[in-house]
């Protein structure tokens, strides 16, 4: 674009040092594709914001996700083979679904994508990870299955599945020096994922420093606070006001909510467009973002063991505070006494220029 056809002769678009980047998205873990579906709900940013260049400073992004792709079959898979051959560079690898343990059986497969031309057998998801992870600029685990194993890694499962960091190693680094980036959630909160992806694209474009991650490899700004910290029912907790029935607007900890000890921003952010969530809208927090999910939170509808102690403790303080507040609340629900239609002015002002005759 020349100077003359830029409005006001001023350039607003700075070219990214990386012109183009590919996102290879494997949904062939043990999952439900719910994370791919989830990101189509994102608006901050939306998929189309990122793909159509609506965010300034980003490289051109090519998304290869099986749920959204135009191409089918080999036409779609060619990007995977190109990446494997080092001909698709740079790319970000996104993994969705938990990683099965293919070593625990003599033959066959638990999860696969495409077919090996030589053997006629499916290519396992593990093999794709082995091939592609070392060549990726960054590797992102999307959703709780991919991050920590999730529901399919529940006790008694037949596949021995696990999270990506369990598979690659928690100290694993990409060729660009990035650790695995974990964005948990079952499914992932739409904007949490797209915002993390946007951050990584900014980082690629040289517009952001190294992504800040906690020990569980989660973006710190998204998972630093607990559900309880952001819950609009936390006030009920503080006042020791707990419900024992579903459908009440009060605090849910006695009927199974784990919010006080779960890292997640959903009550604060809502599910989409600020709407929905979990405890804020009447759903107990079952800890679906956590490495200990699901087993450490089951049975889901029972009071968490720690909650019986903490709710007893808070109830003594809470009930006192609640009754005091209720007195004050009554007071502030009344207007000041000088607001009246009587012929006397009782506001405290003493007029000298006007008085009733």
């Amino acid at each position: 674009m020349t100077e003359s056809n830029v409005p006001y002769g001023r350039k607003t678009q700075r070219p990214s040092p990386v012109k183009e980047i590919h996102i290879l998205w494997i949904t062939a873990g043990l999952g439900c594709d719910g994370d791919s579906v989830s990101i189509t709900a994102a608006t901050q940013p939306s998929v189309e914001d990122v793909l159509l260049g609506a965010i300034p400073g980003l490289p051109k992004v090519h998304l290869h996700n099986p749920v959204l792709a135009y191409e089918n079959g080999d036409e779609f898979m060619k990007f995977w083979y190109q990446a494997d051959e080092g001909r698709l560079d740079p790319f970000v690898l996104v993994i969705e679904g938990s990683i099965p343990n293919e070593k625990i059986k003599a033959e066959g497969y638990w999860a696969a994508l495409g077919t090996d031309k030589k053997t006629g057998q499916p290519i396992t998801t593990c093999e794709w990870i082995d091939r592609l992870a070392p060549k990726a600029l960054a590797v992102v685990a999307c959703g709780t299955c991919a991050t920590y194993g999730g529901i399919h890694a529940m006790e008694g499962n037949p596949t021995g599945c696990m999270g990506l960091a369990d598979y690659l190693g928690w100290g694993w680094k990409s060729k660009a020096g990035l650790p695995i980036v974990n964005v948990p959630g079952c499914p992932v909160q739409p904007d949490n994922f797209m915002e993390t992806l946007l951050y990584l694209l900014y980082q690629v474009a040289g517009l952001a420093p190294m992504i800040p991650l906690d020990d569980e490899l989660r973006p710190k700004w998204l998972f630093g606070a607990t559900v309880h910290d952001g819950c609009d029912r936390a006030g009920y907790y503080e006042q020791g006001d707990f419900t024992t029935e579903y459908g009440s607007p009060k605090c849910l900890v006695k009927i199974g909510c784990w919010g006080p000890v779960v890292n997640c921003n959903v009550p604060k952010r809502g599910w989409m467009a600020g709407i929905g969530g979990c405890p804020n809208v009447g759903g107990i927090c079952i800890g679906c973002t956590m490495p200990g999910f699901p087993d450490k939170f089951m049975p889901f509808m029972d009071e968490p063991p720690g909650a019986s102690v903490s709710t007893k403790a808070i109830s003594i303080y809470g009930r006192t505070i609640r009754s005091l507040r209720s007195i004050t609340n009554k007071t502030v629900n009344k207007e000041p006494k000088w607001r009246h239609p009587k012929p006397q002015l009782t506001t405290g002002y003493h007029p000298t220029s006007y008085t009733p005759s």
């Binding site: 949904t27 062939a28 043990l30 999952g31 594709d33 719910g34 791919s36 579906v37 989830s38 189509t40 709900a41 608006t43 090519h62 749920v67 959204l68 792709a69 135009y70 191409e71 089918n72 079959g73 080999d74 036409e75 060619k78 066959g108 497969y109 638990w110 999860a111 696969a112 994508l113 495409g114 077919t115 031309k117 006629g120 057998q121 499916p122 529901i151 399919h152 008694g156 499962n157 037949p158 596949t159 499914p187 029935e245 579903y246 459908g247 849910l252 959903v266 599910w271 989409m272 709407i275 929905g276 809208v281 009447g282 759903g283 107990i284 079952i286 699901p294 049975p299 889901f300 509808m301």
Partner: protein, 599 residues
């Protein structure tokens, strides 16, 4: 790049020139599906088809011994696009097993949530996934003559939807750049907001429980839903005629297109939207409250309604092992010998199923799939029918139309059709749509029914919100009924997942799950040959599908096959594999590499 190894090269007919073509993965669906075909380019038809998916997770195994109250949280995770249908179906089964009836307002809230799910899911699938098969880029690449014709064909309803020609509609469907593609995507977000209002989160709900919901019913809750619903109603007033224009054009532009994806009319619908005035969740009354559902359950065989009785429907489900990686359970325990009415329960009924996985090499001559073959046993003929769901809507509308039971103001079953009445919206007047029973169960009619069902779901939602607000205004705001988990119980739930029949079957012993088997729609649609040799629905539908694509073998995209398969709304997280035809390959070609630029 080459295709996969031929599944079976051992036999040949000696005369046909068959070319192997494969697409693995099939994209723009949920889950992993591969289609392996042999195509007769001289006859221009698909001679043979194998379909395969490659994921096993083992829900029925790891749910054993768990608390039965956890079932809906766990089973939601079966599916990432209709997980809430599983959660809802699981709570139905819990309600039966625990002996609870939720308050009416809870039922209306669930119905509003599920209606939003249909409105969302059919919308995004139809216009962001299926729609791409009908978009400008695709039609230009597969049928240039059809594109030329589309440019010259005026859209009959252009005055309503504002796209002047059929080509304009196709352009608007181009992925991401198309105007209607983006409008639909945006609408899919608004309907998900409606869903979140009622069920908390999409796609794994947070507010569903056995006994009711945790959602707090307020004036604001229903206002927030209603204003969005009316925007969707306005949207559908344009979308129904838009799709009629597009689909009618295909019949006109490509005579014989009705053969694409066509199979015998064998449709199953397990019913949707319980009516709290009738539904008490008891097994004994299930036949009655099933008939009171706002989408009528039914089995339609060759265009005739065989039954609408959920007890009859449920008892005749049979799970057959065809060519899958499991050991049989003939020697295992029978969990339920009789139903609560004293009817015998078959060993191959989901209540009595034991899942015993045996991973092994894929061998198309023997075992090549993780999926079993659900069948419906027809007492009249003693056949195990390979019912399909047609992706959901065509079976729902067909069964509802024939049964003639639904009449709630906004939707009405006439016995031969379903009428949908939508009220005035911001810029469009009242309209009446009528879905008429089509001549065929085929690709185009499955797709068309999807659009009409979106309008049907919106009509139902208008009824549900009136009922919910009436409860609210009457002060009935309790949304949950308390319960105790029994030591021993059985339960079943029947529902319509977005893409078709869904049933959950639970056995409780010692207060824990002793057996749990969910049966979602895709195993019904995409299963392999069963132990009787009966092929699965995709097999009928894809095999002998004529090829209209103008590309020869070297540039073949398989668009007609893609359309046929996608018309069933495949949703594969449950794993699907399929084998078709007798094995007759003579010539193996490499699959061509396509030059299309990646987007």
């Amino acid at each position: 790049m080459t295709t996969a190894i031929a599944p079976d090269k051992s036999t040949s007919t000696g005369s046909k020139k068959l070319v192997e073509m494969s697409w693995d993965p099939i994209t723009r669906i949920v889950g992993s599906l591969g289609i392996y075909t042999k195509i007769d380019f001289e006859k221009k038809e698909v001679a043979e088809c194998h379909s395969t998916s490659s994921i096993f997770r083992g829900y029925s195994i790891f749910m054993k011994g768990k608390d039965p109250r956890d079932a809906h949280f766990i089973t939601s995770r079966i599916c990432g696009i209709c997980g809430d249908n599983h959660a809802t179906c699981a709570t139905y089964a819990q309600n039966m097993a625990f002996g609870i009836k939720p308050p009416a307002i809870a039922e209306w809230i669930v119905n509003l949530g599920e209606a939003a799910e249909y409105m969302f899911d059919h919308n995004i699938f139809q216009d962001n996934l299926v729609g791409v098969d009908f978009c400008e880029q695709m039609v230009k690449e597969t049928n240039p003559s059809v594109w030329a014709k589309a440019q010259k064909t005026a859209a009959p309803h252009a005055d309503i939807h504002k796209y002047r020609t059929i080509a304009d509609i196709m352009t608007a469907l181009n992925p991401f750049t198309g105007e209607f593609y983006r409008e639909a995507l945006s609408m899919s977000r608004m309907t998900r907001e409606m869903f979140c209002l009622m069920e908390g989160r999409h796609v794994h709900p947070s507010t569903l429980y056995p006994g009711g919901v945790g959602t707090v019913p307020t004036v604001q809750l229903f206002t927030d839903y209603l204003v969005r619903l009316m925007k969707y109603v306005e949207f559908m007033k344009k979308v129904v005629p838009l799709h009629d224009d597009l689909f009618d054009f295909f019949y006109q532009a490509l005579p014989g297109y009705e053969k694409v994806g066509q199979r015998r009319i064998l449709l199953g619908c397990w019913g949707s939207f319980n009516n709290p005035d009738v539904c008490d969740y008891t097994y004994k009354n299930m036949g009655n409250w099933g008939k009171a559902m706002f989408v009528t359950p039914g089995v339609v065989v060759d265009g005739k309604l065989v039954t609408t009785d959920l007890i009859d429907i449920g008892l005749n489900i049979r799970i057959l092992l065809g060519s899958s990686y499991y050991d049989d359970w003939e020697q295992e325990e029978m969990f339920v010998k009789q139903d609560p009415l004293g009817n015998p329960v078959d060993r191959r009924h989901p209540w009595n199923q034991t899942t015993i996985p045996r991973p092994q090499k894929r061998n198309f001559k023997d075992k090549y799939t993780w999926v079993m073959s659900p069948r419906w046993y027809d007492k009249r003929t003693q056949e195990h029918l390979a019912l399909d769901t047609g992706g959901g809507p065509i079976a729902r509308l067909w069964a509802t139309a024939l049964a003639g039971l639904v009449d709630i103001g906004y939707v009405k079953s006439t016995g031969q059709s379903v009428k949908i009445y939508l009220p005035k919206t911001m810029s469009l007047p009242e309209v009446e749509f009528e879905w008429k029973i089509p001549k065929w169960s085929n690709c185009i009619e499955r797709d068309r029914a999807r659009t009409y069902f979106q309008a049907y779901a919106a009509g139902c939602a208008l009824h549900f919100i009136e009922k919910a607000m009436a409860e609210l205004h009457a002060g009935n705001t309790k949304t949950w009924t308390d319960f105790k988990v029994p030591d021993e119980a059985i339960g079943c739930g029947f529902h319509e997942a977005v893409r078709g029949v869904l049933s959950h079957h639970v056995v409780i012993r010692n207060g824990k799950i002793a057996n749990y088997h969910p049966y979602p729609p895709t195993p019904w649609n995409a299963n392999p040959r069963d132990s009787y040799g009966t092929p699965g629905p995709y097999e009928d539908a894809v095999q002998n599908t004529p090829i209209f694509e103008e590309n020869g073998p070297d540039k073949f995209k398989g668009i007609d096959i893609m359309r046929a398969v996608r018309s069933f709304d495949p949703c594969l997280p449950c794993g699907v594999h399929m084998y078709l035809g007798g094995g007759k390959v003579l010539e193996t070609r490499h699959q061509p590499m396509f030059g299309a630029a990646a987007h």
